[in-house]
């Protein structure tokens, strides 16, 4: 019994349709991306020149904190969940997600979590000002009163992520079409399956660490208070046990997206499919045993220091395998360079550069110089911006014609790509230099020695921001109209999603397709 969406606002409020929920996740994450971007621009505006110009140091710290939190939990993670919602049922030939009501719930608690977190900026004493890593005791004994709201917001975000993950795992394991064996699944499905397990493993750890903070702040415990027999370093161990897998949560689905896009535009099957699956699994496993490389300077015993150095260096192996496979997929292909492909190629190049600086950071003795400098900021932005943001953008351009039935404007897409690409490199490449030359992270002011590169970074940041407005415009105008897309959209793309009509009907695969 086919029927269309309900009318009016209740369509969105009560919906259990994976496509509707996917769209809501994507719009929400884009809104958060713009908000987090505004925070970043405040930071870059202040850092345009030495001296204090625009904001006070206390507010600056709130901006760095909120920028990180909003981008990680509000922009990147919900965007991937949105893509998962839209694509996974269509990719495995399922009619919807396995747990549609929970799907609705896991989305709708998110806006409340972020409303609560962002509202702290207007509270007395200001919002969280201790960095997105919120190290105790700066985030406990010395925190502004609004920290309690931050803690509960994190709890809600965690609940949302866990529910989303359970749903994804249940869908992938139970609802594949006949013949869709595990080793036939598209890599996006594979990487999301592994990501979902990571989320279920580490989100409770995050919930645990913020709960310990809550106890320290309000109930007189001393988990992280040395004066009460607690241990501030314990905080960092627990946090990074969550934090490092979290980093991979933000990159593994990206691997899946580019693994779908590169073969399409190289017109050649993905090279080394099974090794890609094993490499993803290895990266996920390693992510649990490298957390303390974020803490090389806390004074660990040398045995610990060495272990975490070796384990971290090992990550280069499976990550290298993935890069080599993508490059070999392109090799002797028949390539065209539509917008999704441009973003994917930039992903491979820039993510690899971020991987190189990661390898450098793994060398523990050298990390004593790199740690907490702009070199680290450059490193993780090179991994996350081209990694997560570029891959999501690539995914949006790649699947948008399937979602709304219209082709986007290719010229505008390419223009956005080049603006974003130049903006990104202008923003983050000079950060390598200032970091090596001695500029520490999270400061509102600096010596003139670092002035030139900081000014370049700030200019790049505004360019990058402008490029995102173009993305918004392009997406909206594509939804409103434009050239009709064919069902296949691209030239012989792989995957079940291209076998249904464009735009994809409200309900797809009411009868499961046969996969050979």
């Amino acid at each position: 019994m086919a029927h269309g969406p309900a009318k009016g606002f209740t369509r969105w409020l009560y919906t259990t349709n994976h496509k509707d929920i996917g769209s809501m996740y994507l719009w929400f994450s884009f809104a958060m991306f713009l908000l987090g971007g505004v925070f970043a621009l405040v930071i870059r505006a202040e850092l345009f020149e030495p001296g204090l110009q625009i904001v006070e140091p206390g507010f600056f710290n709130q901006m760095t904190t909120m920028h990180g939190l909003v981008m990680v939990f509000g922009a990147v993670m919900p965007a991937f969940v949105g893509l998962a919602n839209w694509m996974i049922p269509m990719m495995v030939g399922a009619p919807d997600m396995a747990l549609p009501r929970m799907n609705n719930w896991s989305f709708w608690i998110l806006p409340f979590a972020f409303a609560m977190m962002v509202s702290t900026l207007f509270m007395e004493g200001g919002g969280p000002n201790f960095g997105w890593t919120f190290y105790a005791p700066l985030s406990t004994t010395y925190a502004p009163p609004s920290v309690t709201f931050f803690i509960f917001a994190v709890h809600i975000m965690g609940a949302s992520s866990i529910m989303g993950s359970i749903n994804i795992i249940a869908t992938i394991l139970n609802m594949r079409a006949p013949g869709m064996t595990l080793m036939k699944m598209p890599l996006f499905v594979w990487t999301w399956l592994i990501t979902a397990y990571l989320l279920i493993a580490v989100m409770p750890v995050l919930a645990g660490v913020v709960t310990m903070m809550l106890m320290d702040i309000h109930f007189g415990t001393s988990f992280f208070d040395a004066a009460g027999g607690g241990d501030p370093v314990l905080f960092q161990h627990v946090f990074w046990f969550f934090g490092h897998p979290e980093v991979y949560i933000m990159i593994l689905p990206a691997f899946g997206i580019v693994s779908a896009i590169i073969p399409t535009f190289a017109r050649k099957p993905l090279f080394g499919y099974s090794s890609m699956v094993y490499a993803t699994a290895s990266i996920a496993f390693l992510s649990f045993i490298v957390w303390a490389h974020h803490m090389f300077t806390v004074g660990m015993p040398i045995a610990g220091e060495l272990f975490f150095m070796y384990a971290t260096m090992l990550i280069a192996v499976p990550t290298g395998v993935k890069v080599f496979n993508w490059v070999t997929t392109m090799f002797r292909g028949s390539m065209t360079f539509e917008t999704p492909m441009l973003f994917s190629i930039a992903f491979v190049i820039l993510f690899t550069i971020g991987g190189f600086s990661g390898l450098m950071l793994a060398i523990a003795p050298a990390d004593f110089q790199y740690h907490d400098t702009y070199f680290v900021v450059a490193h993780f932005h090179y991994v996350l911006v081209p990694g997560a943001i570029f891959s999501i953008t690539a995914g949006v351009y790649y699947w948008l014609p399937k979602w709304c039935g219209n082709m986007y404007n290719e010229t505008m897409g390419k223009l956005q790509f080049w603006l974003a690409f130049i903006g990104l490199n202008l923003t983050f490449f000079p950060m390598h230099f200032v970091g090596l030359a001695g500029m520490q992270r999270r400061v509102p002011d600096y010596n003139q020695f670092f002035a030139d590169f900081n000014m370049l970074s700030s200019m790049g940041a505004f360019l990058f921001g402008a490029a995102q407005i173009l993305l918004l415009y392009n997406v909206i105008s594509t939804i409103m109209g434009g050239k009709k897309a064919t069902d296949e959209v691209w030239e012989n793309p792989e995957g079940l999603e291209w076998t249904v009509a464009s735009p994809a009907p409200y309900h797809t695969f009411s009868t499961p397709p046969e996969v050979k």
Partner: protein, 381 residues
């Protein structure tokens, strides 16, 4: 604004992008690159620099190969050139090769890294021991068994930070009293904190250690060249994280010994001063200075308040003296932002600043607090 853009453009086309880092002297021990890690002045920093460059060149090498193949394909194997796609999609031999090859490179890098790390951790047989304590937002230094200790604060004037005066060369990297150490001696730094986590970092020594309350972390340096070496707090520690620099002055041993003797003598004098009785004028003059260093940032130049409460007309500064002494000496029990000054201000300074607060900003209580009162209060009498 236009000026800065012009300056930027000039730099773009001259030094920075030709990779000829121009001559800034962030460390008087030598010129420092604007684009690369300093080689530094200790055996460890030179070692670390070597590792850094090794791994960097490995990355460049791998990058050239990977990006080379990629760009070759992008140029040659494009549909517009009539390239026909091949159909290969698996090769066990290739997969094994590019698993093993990086592994070998990693082992080649891990060996020297391990050696350096072991050396970096060997803090035994030190000749001078300095306890470094992080405070919000300055550093405290104590020479173990030497009876010498002092605090080191940012000396850049507020006017420079607020863009009301031209910035000096060592803007934000200058302090009132640098740490002084002898060259060619193994100095052990024992790093801890009094409040939140800080990190003591001097790039020219490749020393970076987190200062953590309840922990004492160790690190060491043997400086080979006399000079002024500048560093910063590297771990976010609150509002003024960017304003607590480090300056280390490395001097020949004889000079160090003289300096140490001077400091010891000064410390003795300060102790004796605590027994002296001061006049209101003396206390007010001294108090104004201390207020500027220790209180002004939170309580305002006219005691009007800000992050902290107002001093002008405050019930504490105009009421019971004991309560006033208590909050300055022991800090606030409800608000951690109001720090305890018992270790950071001498008896004379404490007495002066309390007298100042009770008589300035229209508080005019006419009451005097003498150093001996502070001493008695601290001893619980």
């Amino acid at each position: 604004m236009l000026n800065t853009v012009n300056r930027l453009m000039a730099r773009l086309f001259s030094s920075a992008f030709l990779l000829t880092a121009s001559g800034y002297t962030l460390a008087e021990g030598g010129e420092r690159s604007t684009i690369n890690m300093p080689i530094g002045v200790t055996p460890i920093s030179q070692d670390v620099y070597g590792l850094h460059m090794d791994i960097f060149w490995w990355c460049v090498g791998i990058g050239v190969v990977v990006f080379g193949v990629m760009f070759y394909s992008m140029i040659v194997h494009r549909k517009a050139n009539g390239a026909k796609a091949a159909n290969f999609h698996d090769s066990l031999a290739l997969e094994v090769t590019w698993t093993i090859l990086p592994f070998v490179i990693l082992i080649i890098m891990a060996i020297p890294a391990t050696k350096s790390l072991i050396n970096l951790y060997d803090t035994s047989e030190s000749e001078v021991d300095v306890v470094v304590t992080g405070y919000q937002w300055y550093w405290g230094y104590e020479y173990l068994d030497q009876d010498v200790s002092f605090f080191s604060r940012l000396s850049t004037p507020q006017e420079q930070i607020r863009n009301e005066a031209p910035k000096g060369e060592n803007y934000l990297l200058e302090v009132d009293e640098p740490l002084v150490i002898p060259i060619n001696k193994k100095i052990r730094f024992l790093v801890t904190s009094n409040d939140v986590i800080h990190a003591w970092w001097v790039p020219d020594f490749a020393v970076k250690r987190d200062a953590i309350p309840g922990y004492i972390n160790e690190s060491w340096a043997k400086v080979e060249k006399p000079g002024l070496y500048r560093g910063v707090c590297a771990e976010l520690c609150g509002k003024d994280h960017g304003f607590m620099p480090i300056v280390v002055k490395a001097v020949p041993e004889a000079e160090y010994e003289t300096w140490l003797a001077d400091r010891r003598e000064q410390a003795q004098k300060i102790k004796e001063l605590a027994k002296k009785t001061f006049t209101l004028e003396e206390l007010m003059a001294q108090g104004e200075q201390v207020y500027g260093q220790a209180c002004l940032a939170c309580h305002g130049a006219n005691g009007e308040g800000g992050v902290g409460k107002a001093i002008a007309g405050s019930p504490i500064a105009t009421g019971d003296i004991a309560a006033h002494l208590d909050i300055v000496v022991n800090g606030s029990s409800v608000n951690p932002a109001m720090a305890a000054f018992k270790d950071t201000l001498s008896e004379v300074d404490t007495a002066a600043v309390i007298t100042y607060q009770r008589n300035a900003f229209g508080n005019n209580t006419g009451e005097l607090v003498q150093p001996i009162d502070i001493l008695k209060f601290k001893q619980g009498k």
